[in-house]
């Protein structure tokens, strides 16, 4: 039977409209996929490094109240940034003279890091589909160690009762991190974890001051000397506790702790995956099936440690206007951060590579499932590209750390003393001096803390007396 032209037209119209509806559904599916995959990632575009820039500038400009306000706001607006914002707030408190509050904040973060160090299935899965910013931040290894050093210092500045316990915890933490690193990367990994000598130094200072445990002080100072052989005053400390006493009759001791320079921060960099990282990634992927890494990979975004330019070398110390010399580095935060981060860098790159592979595979699989072609396929490719492009590196970090922690010990006659500190660059005074009056008790220690990120001191010089 021959069909009427009108019927043929109707059938053709029906077929075309059905095809158009199918295309619409496909496009809709693409949009949905785009929303599912891309939109959550857009939130990851802004990195902590960008959010930290303003409070960091305020801190270095000496505007402590505004800095505190910004950091508090940051800790509330970005849940993932809360702990690092707390660390920075602790620095603001410590430098601002509220050592007790600083200790409290640091203790909270220490406990949070302890908890977050454990693996979370949910976060790992989410971060595999988005980026590392989806993970709760458990601190880089250097930060986990330095929390204890600053806990010890904060405690010493207001009470001193727990300072020694924190310094012992610091050594325990280091041993724990070394064990974890050895388990992950072999015995060579230990080399990256040089001790935070500040912990040993503080233990030596505290044990020496009780005039009974010179043996403990000697062990602690011996470790400081071992890792800082070029610093002569530390050898004097060691000799003193081996052969002499804390202080001579009528004398007391002032310890000047200086937070010198601007410390390490994390920035986002594009990384061509290293062969080590690819090998690790390949092992992970190959372990679960006959899938290998794609032969070519676009650069991936990972965090890297950046050390700001050096604007100050030491801090010159004068007591009652008599110049005594510069402070000496007891802990190079810069060095510890670079070494420990380098030890873990391959794993970070590997994780980013696996994530990239997973995303590519997801797009391919989605296209196969949907059986897309032409415009839809192009749209999905675009979505995939956008998905990968919106990935950001996890640049969360303790942003207000100093480059170095420096110290100087001065034995002075008991009584009121004026301590004057001035920034030094290549042994020359390069900024305004700052003076604080402290009271020195006979046979006791007085602790002075100052922050010199550059040629200007931040906040006031603080003392525990």
């Amino acid at each position: 039977m021959e069909l009427q032209p009108s019927k043929i037209l109707k059938r053709e119209l029906a077929r075309q409209s059905q095809h158009a509806i199918q295309r619409c559904f496909e496009l809709l599916r693409c949009i949905v996929l785009l929303c599912i995959f891309v939109l959550p990632c857009v939130a990851g575009c802004s990195t902590h490094a960008k959010r930290l820039a303003e409070p960091r500038n305020l801190f270095y400009a000496g505007q402590m109240d505004q800095c505190r306000e910004q950091l508090t706001k940051l800790s509330k607006s970005h849940r993932g940034d809360r702990d690092v914002a707390m660390l920075d707030l602790a620095m603001v408190d410590l430098v601002g003279g509220d050592a007790k509050q600083a200790e409290s904040r640091l203790r909270d973060v220490r406990d949070r890091f302890e908890y977050l160090e454990q693996d979370s299935l949910t976060e790992k899965t989410l971060s595999a589909w988005t980026d590392d910013q989806m993970r709760s931040y458990a601190g880089e290894d250097y930060e986990r160690m330095l929390v204890y050093a600053f806990l010890s210092l904060s405690n010493l500045m207001h009470d001193g009762g727990d300072a020694e316990a924190y310094s012992l915890q610091l050594n325990e933490k280091r041993a724990q991190l070394i064990n974890a690193a050895i388990e992950k990367s072999g015995p060579e990994a230990e080399k990256a974890y040089r001790p935070v000598s500040m912990g040993d130094y503080l233990r030596g200072v505290i044990r020496e001051s009780n005039r009974r445990d010179y043996d403990d002080a000697a062990k602690a100072y011996a470790r400081v000397v071992e890792w800082n052989p070029e610093v002569i005053p530390f050898q004097w400390d060691l000799n003193r506790v081996r052969t002499s006493v804390h202080s001579q009759p009528g004398m007391g001791v002032i310890y000047v702790f200086a937070l010198v320079g601007r410390g390490p921060i994390k920035v986002e960099v594009a990384e061509q995956p290293t062969s080590d990282a690819l090998l690790i990634a390949d092992r992970i992927v190959s372990a679960v099936g006959p899938y290998s890494l794609p032969p070519t990979l676009a650069p991936i975004k990972i965090p890297d440690i950046q050390i700001p330019a050096i604007e100050i070398d030491n801090v010159g110390v004068a007591i009652d206007q008599k110049r005594l010399g510069p402070t000496q580095c007891v802990t190079s935060v810069e060095r510890i951060a670079l070494d420990t981060y380098a030890a873990n860098r391959s794993s970070i790159v590997a994780r980013a590579v696996v994530r990239r592979v997973l995303k590519k595979a997801s797009i391919v699989a989605a296209k196969k499932v949907a059986g897309t072609e032409g415009l839809t396929s192009f749209a999905m490719d675009a979505a995939g590209v956008a998905w990968e492009a919106t990935e950001s590196a996890d640049t969360r970090c303790w942003g207000l750390l100093p480059r170095e922690i420096q110290v100087m010990r001065i034995e002075v006659p008991a009584g009121s003393r004026n301590v004057t500190l001035h920034p030094l660059v290549r042994d020359r005074v390069s900024g305004l001096a700052n003076t604080v009056s402290v009271h020195v008790n006979e046979g006791e220690n007085t602790y002075v803390l100052a922050c010199f990120p550059d040629s200007q001191t931040i906040g006031q010089i603080r003392s525990n007396r």
Partner: protein, 224 residues
């Protein structure tokens, strides 16, 4: 690749990524008094120090509790307690004993007080005397220093009969990846009146192994 296969691939990759692991909270519990101590895997702990203190203190005080002919007699007709000034614990071992040092001091001091024949001087008084004399604990056995130190304590109202020093030492024997460490706690008691000296040591040996079979390999009970 069909839908199921694709989902399998994605699922497997996700699981690989995440491996296994969930965050848990930390818990604590009180250990019963008769429960054995935990044995430290890398260094000495309560399992070494507790028995060392028990043995050394008991033996030394047990030997010293016999009254000497020149010991003053109290109003009740019994010999008066001898006063011991426990100066401190010196750690000369290869290990950092950390917070155990003060624990050792308190354990030994408590055991002296628990004994019926000895009393001890408060640690705060000892610290005050060290502060006043500016003497190092390890220099107290020099006769002039000892005299000065005891004079200061007497002036504070705490005359003493004996000075007590505790020293922790260790000796290490290594064999491939295994290690034996002998811990020795030595108590040295010096009579400040006549300079006589007594000493008691207690020893515990401990093995450290990198592998589970290390203990069997080095200390095979069938071999000895």
């Amino acid at each position: 690749m069909d839908r199921r296969k694709a989902l399998q691939v994605l699922g497997t990759l996700s699981v690989t990524w995440t491996f296994a692991g969930c965050r848990g909270h930390q818990y604590g519990h009180v250990i019963k008094k008769d429960a054995p101590n935990m044995v430290g895997s890398h260094d000495a702990g309560a399992e070494v120090f507790d028995p060392l203190v028990d043995e050394a203190v008991m033996k030394l005080l047990g030997r010293q509790c016999i009254p000497s002919p020149d010991q003053p007699i109290g109003q009740d007709g019994m010999p008066m307690k001898k006063t011991v000034c426990f100066v401190g614990v010196e750690n000369k071992s290869a290990e950092e004993i950390g917070d155990f040092k003060d624990q050792l001091y308190q354990q030994i001091d408590s055991k002296i007080l628990e004994s019926q024949t000895f009393s001890s001087v408060s640690r705060r008084m000892v610290d005050a005397a060290l502060f006043e004399t500016r003497l190092r604990p390890d220099s107290l056995l020099v006769p002039s220093n000892m005299q000065l130190f005891t004079q200061v304590l007497s002036r504070q109202g705490a005359p003493i009969d004996h000075l007590l020093f505790a020293t922790l030492t260790s000796g290490t024997t290594e064999r491939n990846s295994s290690k034996q460490r002998d811990y020795l706690l030595t108590l040295e008691m010096t009579n400040v009146h006549d300079g006589t000296y007594d000493k008691q040591s207690a020893e515990i040996r401990k093995g450290y192994h990198k592998t589970a079979v290390g203990k069997l390999w080095n200390y095979n009970p069938l071999k000895y």
